[in-house]
C-alpha cells in the first residue's frame, strides 16, 4: 500500500495534475479567509467594468498631495487621450500640408505633438479638404490645446449663504496622491460582471461551489455504480441480467438528454446546486457499473475469494474484505473522472439555462451563462468569460492528468 502510494506520487503526470489541483483548492480555501467580500454583492452600477485598481475620486481630492515633477507626465496624459484614429488624422493633415511623411512617427506622442503644434495653422486651406473636415481639425486642435494647458483644475463648492460656486482650491497638474493614503480603493483584478459583481471573488466562490457539485455528483454516481456493479458482478444470475439490461439501456440513451429532461421537469423553483449535483450523479453511473462488474467477475473465482467463501464469511464480508481492495484503484480513477465530468455537465446545463437557481450561489456554469446572455464575448469583455473557461479547463485537465498517472501506475501495460 505504502509502496503503491509512493509510486503514484512519482508519476510525473499525476504529480503535475495533483499540484495544479491542490493549488486551485488552496486558492478556493484561502481566498475567502483573506478577502471577505460577499461574492454575490452587486457593487458596480453598470455592466462589465474593466479590471484594474479603482480609486475613489472624492477621497483622492481630500487625500494629502505630493508634487512630483515627472517629465513624461504630460505626454502620458495626452497619449491616453489621443486614440489611433486621431493620430492618423493628424498625420494626414501634416502630410497634406507638405510636411515630410517619413519624419512622422504616430507612436511617438511627444514628437507628434511638437510637430503638430509647430505646423498646424487653422487658417491654412488644404486643397481638396471638405469644410466638415476642416472643422474637425479645428476641433481636434482645440481639444489638444485643452490637454496641453498647464493650468490645474479648480475645485469649487457651493457656498452656503450665496448659493453660488466658490473656489476652494486648485489641483495643479503635477500633484499626486499616494494610493495607500486614499481611504477607499477597491482592487478588481478581473473587473465586474454584467450585474456589477466582483468577478474574481465570484469566480473563487463559483469554483468552490462547482467543485462541491462535482464532488456530490461523483460520489452519488460512484456509489450507485459501485453498488450495482458489485451486485451484478458478484451475485450474478437474474440480478446480473436485470442490472445489465438497465445499464445497457442507459449507456445508449445519452445522459445529457436525461439531464435536460430531469432538470427541466424539476422546475426552476426546486433547482438548487445540490439537486443539480444529485441529478448529474443519477445520470452518470453507467460506466462505473460496467467497469466494476467486469472487475468483480474476474475476481469472483480467485482462490482467496473461494477460500473466504469456504471459511463461511458472509457475502458482505467477502465483498468488503476480498473484493473491494482489488477494485479500489479503478473506483478511485472513475471517481476522479466523474467529478470532472460532473463539473462539465453542470456548466453545459447552466448554459442551456437549466442550471441551479441563480440568486443564491454562483457556479462556473452560471457565470458562463450570464456572460453569454450579456454577449461578453462579442463585446470583448474577456474578463467575464475567459477566466471561467480557464478554471474549468484547469480542473478537468488536472483531474484527467491525475487519472492518467494513476492508470499508468496500476496498469503496467500503459507505461512507456
Amino acid at each position: 500500500m505504502k509502496h503503491t502510494i509512493r509510486q503514484v506520487f512519482r508519476s510525473p503526470n499525476f504529480m503535475f495534475g495533483f499540484i495544479v489541483f491542490v493549488l486551485l483548492l488552496l486558492i478556493v480555501i484561502l481566498y475567502p479567509i483573506f478577502v471577505k467580500y460577499s461574492p454575490l454583492e452587486i457593487i458596480g452600477q453598470g455592466t462589465f467594468f474593466p479590471p484594474g485598481v479603482y480609486v475613489n475620486v472624492y477621497d483622492s481630492i481630500g487625500a494629502p498631495r505630493y508634487t512630483l515633477n515627472l517629465d513624461d507626465a504630460a505626454a502620458n496624459r495626452i497619449g491616453s487621450k489621443l486614440d489611433d484614429q486621431e493620430r492618423l488624422d493628424m498625420k494626414t493633415w501634416l502630410v497634406a500640408d507638405g510636411f515630410p511623411e517619413d519624419e512622422i512617427d504616430i507612436s511617438d506622442t511627444a514628437k507628434l505633438m511638437e510637430q503638430w503644434e509647430n505646423n498646424y495653422d487653422p487658417t491654412v486651406r488644404i486643397p481638396g479638404m471638405t469644410y466638415a473636415n476642416q472643422m474637425y481639425y479645428q476641433r481636434l486642435n482645440a481639444s489638444l490645446q485643452g490637454i496641453l494647458s498647464i493650468e490645474g483644475v479648480t475645485i469649487a463648492a457651493i457656498s452656503a449663504e450665496m448659493g453660488a460656486l466658490e473656489e476652494t482650491g486648485t489641483i495643479p497638474q503635477s500633484d499626486y496622491v499616494n494610493i495607500n493614503q486614499v481611504p477607499n480603493v477597491r482592487v478588481l483584478p478581473l473587473g465586474t460582471d454584467n450585474f456589477g459583481r466582483d468577478v474574481l471573488t465570484e469566480l473563487v466562490k463559483a469554483t468552490s461551489v462547482s467543485l462541491q457539485i462535482g464532488l456530490v455528483a461523483g460520489t452519488v454516481a460512484t456509489l450507485i455504480g459501485l453498488t450495482l456493479g458489485l451486485l451484478s458482478g458478484y451475485i450474478g444470475g437474474l440480478m446480473d441480467d436485470i442490472i445489465m439490461f438497465i445499464t445497457n439501456i442507459f449507456t445508449v440513451i445519452p445522459s445529457f438528454v436525461l439531464l435536460i429532461l430531469i432538470s427541466f421537469s424539476i422546475g426552476q423553483e426546486h433547482r438548487g446546486a445540490v439537486t443539480i449535483a444529485v441529478v448529474i450523479g443519477f445520470t452518470s453511473w453507467v460506466w462505473t457499473t460496467r467497469a466494476v462488474r467486469a472487475q468483480v467477475i474476474s475476481l469472483r473465482n480467485r482462490d482467496h475469494v473461494n477460500l473466504s467463501k469456504l471459511s463461511g464469511h458472509s457475502v458482505m464480508h467477502i465483498i468488503l474484505a476480498d473484493i473491494l481492495p482489488y477494485i479500489a484503484s479503478y473506483v478511485v480513477m472513475a471517481f476522479i473522472l466523474q467529478i470532472s465530468s460532473g463539473i462539465l455537465s453542470e456548466a453545459g446545463l447552466s448554459i442551456l439555462g437549466l442550471g441551479p437557481r441563480t440568486t443564491k450561489v454562483p457556479t462556473l456554469g452560471l457565470m458562463m451563462n450570464w456572460s453569454l446572455i450579456y454577449q461578453a464575448e462579442i463585446l470583448g469583455k474577456w474578463w467575464a468569460y475567459f477566466p471561467v473557461i480557464v478554471v474549468i479547463a484547469l480542473i478537468t485537465f488536472s483531474m484527467n492528468l491525475m487519472n492518467t498517472g494513476l492508470d499508468q501506475v496500476f496498469n503496467p501495460a500503459l507505461r512507456e
Binding site: I249, P254, L261, G348, I351, G353, L372, E377, T396
Partner: protein, 334 residues
C-alpha cells in the same frame, strides 16, 4: 451476408428496445416530478388575468389538451399515438406553431453540422494519433500534451475562444446564426456562400474537440498493437514495414470505431451547447429557446429527437463495424 443477419437482427432488437425505453422515460420523467405542471402552465398563461372562472377555464383547457385528467396508462397510449403521427403538440413559446414544424426547420442544421464535424474530427484525430504512435519523438511530444489539453477543454469553451479569435478579433467569420440575417433561405449563390461562411466556426470547434480525444485513444491503441507479437513475428519474417503498419492501424482502428459509438452521445451533447454559443439554428438553439420560453412540448420533443438521432448513429456505427471487423462475421457463423 448470411453471417451478418443474426448480428443485425440482434442490434436492431436492441435499438428498438432502447427506443421504447427512451420514449417511456421521455413520457414518465416529467410526470414523476412533484407539483402539477398544468397548474404551472396555467399560471404562466393567465398572468394578469383577473377572473377566476377564466383561469379555471384555461386550466381545464390545458388539462384536456395534455390529457392529465385521465389515468396514466390512457395518457401514455395517447402520447404514443400522437408521436406515431408526428404530432408533438403546439409550441407554447411560438404559439400556434406546431412543434413538428419547428423541429423540421432545425434538425437539418444540426445533422448537417454535427455528423460531418464528428466524422472529420474522428478521421483527423485517428490519423494524428497513429502518426504520433509511429513517429514518436518530437511529433509525439508536441501532439500528446496538446491533445490532452484540447480534449479536456469544455466544448463551449472551445466554441467561445474560436468565436472571439476568428469572429470578433480577426473578423474572418460571422459570429452568430446559420446564414446572414438579411437573407431568406433560397437556392442562390449568395445564400449558399453565407451558409458556408457561417458553418466554419461551429464546425471547427466541434472538430477540434473530437480530434483531441480520438488522437489520445488511437495513440495508445496503436502503441499497444505495435508491441504485439504478430508485429515482431512479421518483422522476423521480413515483411515490409509499410505492410505491417497497414495491419497495425487496421487493428488499432477497430476499438476506435466502437469508441465512437459509445462517445457519440456525449459528443452530440457538447456540440448542442456549441450550437447555442454560435446561435446556430439547430436543435441546441431550439432547446435553449424552449428552456427560455418554458416551452414544455418543444423540449420534450427535442430531447426525444436527439435521443433518436444518437440511437440511429450508434446503430449505423454498429453496422459499419460489422463490415470492417471480420471477426464479427466469423463469430456469427459459428
Amino acid at each position: 451476408m448470411k453471417g451478418y443477419r443474426k448480428y443485425f437482427l440482434n442490434k436492431a432488437i436492441w435499438f428498438l428496445v432502447t427506443f421504447v425505453f427512451a420514449i417511456i422515460l421521455n413520457f414518465i420523467l416529467p410526470r414523476l416530478m412533484p407539483g402539477d405542471p398544468v397548474a404551472v402552465i396555467t399560471q404562466r398563461a393567465t398572468q394578469g388575468m383577473q377572473s377566476a372562472s377564466g383561469i379555471q377555464a384555461v386550466y381545464e383547457y390545458y388539462q384536456k389538451a395534455f390529457g392529465t385528467n385521465k389515468p396514466m396508462l390512457t395518457q401514455f397510449i395517447l402520447y404514443i399515438k400522437n408521436i406515431a403521427h408526428g404530432d408533438f403538440g403546439l409550441s407554447f413559446s411560438q404559439y400556434p406553431r406546431p412543434v413538428l414544424d419547428i423541429l423540421k426547420s432545425s434538425i437539418w442544421w444540426t445533422i448537417g453540422l454535427q455528423f460531418p464535424a464528428i466524422i472529420v474530427g474522428w478521421l483527423i484525430g485517428n490519423t494524428l494519433g497513429a502518426l504520433a504512435a509511429y513517429l514518436k519523438k518530437g511529433f509525439d511530444k508536441v501532439l500528446m500534451p496538446v491533445s490532452i489539453f484540447v480534449s479536456n477543454f469544455p466544448a463551449f469553451g472551445m466554441a467561445v475562444i474560436l468565436l472571439v479569435i476568428f469572429g470578433v478579433g480577426l473578423n474572418w467569420f460571422p459570429t452568430s446564426g446559420g446564414y446572414g440575417f438579411d437573407l431568406m433561405p433560397a437556392f442562390s449563390w449568395k445564400f449558399i456562400w453565407s451558409v458556408i461562411v457561417h458553418y466554419q466556426l461551429p464546425f471547427w470547434s466541434i472538430v477540434l474537440i473530437a480530434i483531441g480525444g480520438q488522437a489520445i485513444g488511437m495513440r495508445s491503441m496503436a502503441i499497444y498493437e505495435l508491441n504485439a507479437d504478430y508485429v515482431k513475428f512479421s518483422r522476423f519474417m521480413g515483411i515490409k514495414d509499410r505492410k505491417i503498419i497497414g495491419y497495425v492501424f487496421r487493428n488499432a482502428m477497430l476499438p476506435q470505431v466502437t469508441g465512437l459509438a459509445l462517445s457519440i452521445g456525449t459528443m452530440i451533447g457538447g456540440a448542442l451547447v456549441a450550437e447555442i454559443i454560435f446561435s446556430y439554428p439547430g436543435l441546441g438553439y431550439t432547446m435553449l429557446n424552449g428552456v427560455m420560453g418554458q416551452d414544455y412540448p418543444l423540449i420534450s420533443a427535442t430531447t426525444l429527437i436527439v435521443t433518436l438521432m444518437v440511437l440511429i448513429a450508434m446503430f449505423l456505427i454498429d453496422i459499419v463495424y460489422a463490415f470492417i471487423d471480420p471477426r464479427i462475421k466469423a463469430a456469427q457463423l459459428d
